[in-house]
Symmetry: C2
Subunit: 443 residues, 2 copies
Amino acid sequence: MSDSEDFLKIANAGRSAAAGLAPLPRAAKDTALYAVADALVERAAEIVEANARDVEAARQGGTPETMIDRLRLDVPRIESIARAVREVAELPDPVGEVVRGSTLPNGLELRQLRVPLGVVGIIYEGRPNVTVDAAALCLKSGNAVLLRGSSSAYESNTVLVRVMQEALAGTEVPAEAVQLVPGTTRDSVKHLMRARGLVDVLIPRGGASLINSVVEESTVPVIETGVGNCHVYVDAHADLELALEILVNAKVQRPSVCNSAETFLVHAAVADEFVPMALARLAREGVTVHGDERVAAYSGEGSGGAPGAGVSVVAATKEDFRQEYLSLDIAAAVVGSLEEAVEHIRRYGSGHTDAIVTRSQKAARRFVSLVDSAAVAVNASTRFTDGGEFGFGAEIGISTQKLHARGPMGLPELTSTKWVYTGEGHMRTSTGTVIATGSGDMG
Amino acid sequence: MSDSEDFLKIANAGRSAAAGLAPLPRAAKDTALYAVADALVERAAEIVEANARDVEAARQGGTPETMIDRLRLDVPRIESIARAVREVAELPDPVGEVVRGSTLPNGLELRQLRVPLGVVGIIYEGRPNVTVDAAALCLKSGNAVLLRGSSSAYESNTVLVRVMQEALAGTEVPAEAVQLVPGTTRDSVKHLMRARGLVDVLIPRGGASLINSVVEESTVPVIETGVGNCHVYVDAHADLELALEILVNAKVQRPSVCNSAETFLVHAAVADEFVPMALARLAREGVTVHGDERVAAYSGEGSGGAPGAGVSVVAATKEDFRQEYLSLDIAAAVVGSLEEAVEHIRRYGSGHTDAIVTRSQKAARRFVSLVDSAAVAVNASTRFTDGGEFGFGAEIGISTQKLHARGPMGLPELTSTKWVYTGEGHMRTSTGTVIATGSGDMG
């Protein structure tokens, strides 16, 4: 069979599985999730063995040790993956929730119900635990899933999916509700992207280049996730000590994640005081500052005995302001006003999370109103934009687009809705509703 | 200037206008809408004059009279368009609504607010009244709009947009919040479809071929609207008189709209009784039935003195079951079970509205659960799937896709959301939240 026939086969199997899965009640889905969790633990040795082949291949290929650590599975890690599946089972079922409802003036009973999306495609570069996480979230929300993970984890993912499918085979959930897209080449991604009508939504999880290529080429609707160029704006009315703590937390606490800060902007009125403080402190924290000219002016010899003196600042290019560093680097600029900060964020930001530090209610209100991002933080670190922190219990990613879902995506964001209206012979005429008379009641 | 430069100019102007419009309170937007309504009435003569040029050109081009009637504007029609604008002004403002909110365990105050999408592109084939309708709905929901109407209405649309812009110029709403995409060629549609980053969403309103080409080519997220291949399923437990009235209403009351029925399916257990009744009645209503073999068996001479006898049935092809006739035609098939009806709807339907007529609670429940469409009607005509009927007050279209909006789209469907969280120095650590201490309160 060709690659493309292989893909069509699994996509069609996914559609059938989705149709079987959608009407299942919560209990059936939870039972299946517990069976998956148990199977992962029971068959951990098998998974570790397959994973060892991926690890060996990566090592042969010269992959750095930090990346290999992300790839590696051992028994404790598999137990933790299984625990996460059980936690998903314990979350409320979004399917069937009545989102809105009313009895219309003509007596029709109208309800808007949450329903699964159908078949969800996930394209990811991450660790093999994403394979299980994503599958669990899709199952719980009544969706079939087609998984296209990193080719470097193909052996691990193959076994993980086989273990999940074999666990599902003993439950009411169709085994084909979880499938791995066959193949490790870019073609297998292409098939997913062109599977309009077979796949209901694609969620790419990874770097900006993966996401951009999916958006560009996909005819399946896409939910963009995860690129975060987050800003901390230190307002003229900021408590500067508080601002410094928030800035350092947003940058340093976990630099590799999308909700960490990549740029800070300082109002000119407090720049003389704040910038030297920030340069000195960030230098101590090991952070390289990529500053505009006004920031750079506070470093070096010119600034004499100020706290930032002697701390080197890399001259920032426009590209630096666009960058998602994911490292101990941060861009910095001085702005003339709150509006200029907003303009900077509009131009260079990724629409993820932007924070203001201020004591002024008016400034906070204005910043919240003008900044057009998935999340706006006031006197808080950008690091709180997270499904877990928001109380969702689980997260499939953080959407940085405006349609369907924006910000952290939990289980409800993996659903659509369906309108249901019930009458007793309701018909529409040019003058209003007429009710047909028939011969009998519901039996 | 080239076409593409022209487009970039209006797209950038639209983005700036959107930024200015988004934070405006309801009063400012309503004032602007009333100004638009007044201007349309005051300048009706100018609009009628421009419209006459479109009508003349259409007539020269041999456009049929029914199409010309759809294009024509006169003073009463303009007054009715203005009235619709005032009705939109009277609707509640979706922007600023708190969709969800809570105080997190760490004390962060979390709110999810409704915000405008930004710049909305509308591609439509319809009458020139859509130009004003769509603009009013976008303004009310805080969005700037780029309108790409039918080239046959270009003169009318140009003047309508000019009148609206000049009315806005005296208000707080930026005049460039409403713009016509320049040009009448397909290139102008292409520019819209490739304007990712400048346009936030595209809503094509028109036939299936327009919508498919937009979905195929657009890198801007698309909301599909309006293609309706709606089904009426007559269950084994149906009240057949009621079923017949509902079927006739769904087909005949207004055949040219997307929520009219295009196929009916009859359970085999009641086919002997229902199909002849339906054929006879539909023939009297002037409807041509495109039936499968089992339906055809009830027509013609074979069926002797039955009510459907002698009524001709066109043999249905697979394509007939896929068709959105929008005319006095309907496809028909006999099915062996409710599940077979569902399977038929899955295969041939467009996911718009599908109805079941039944007295059985169990059958109704099962149909509602299995049919994966934007709306499912129980003992009611498909014609009720409509923003006006649902109580939305206005409708930008009926979405037949699953992401973002499904079914009739009112003002809230023209918005996105933004998360806002407010703390007092909240920072995230590996063990939980820590609150930085600063030197002062909000001033």
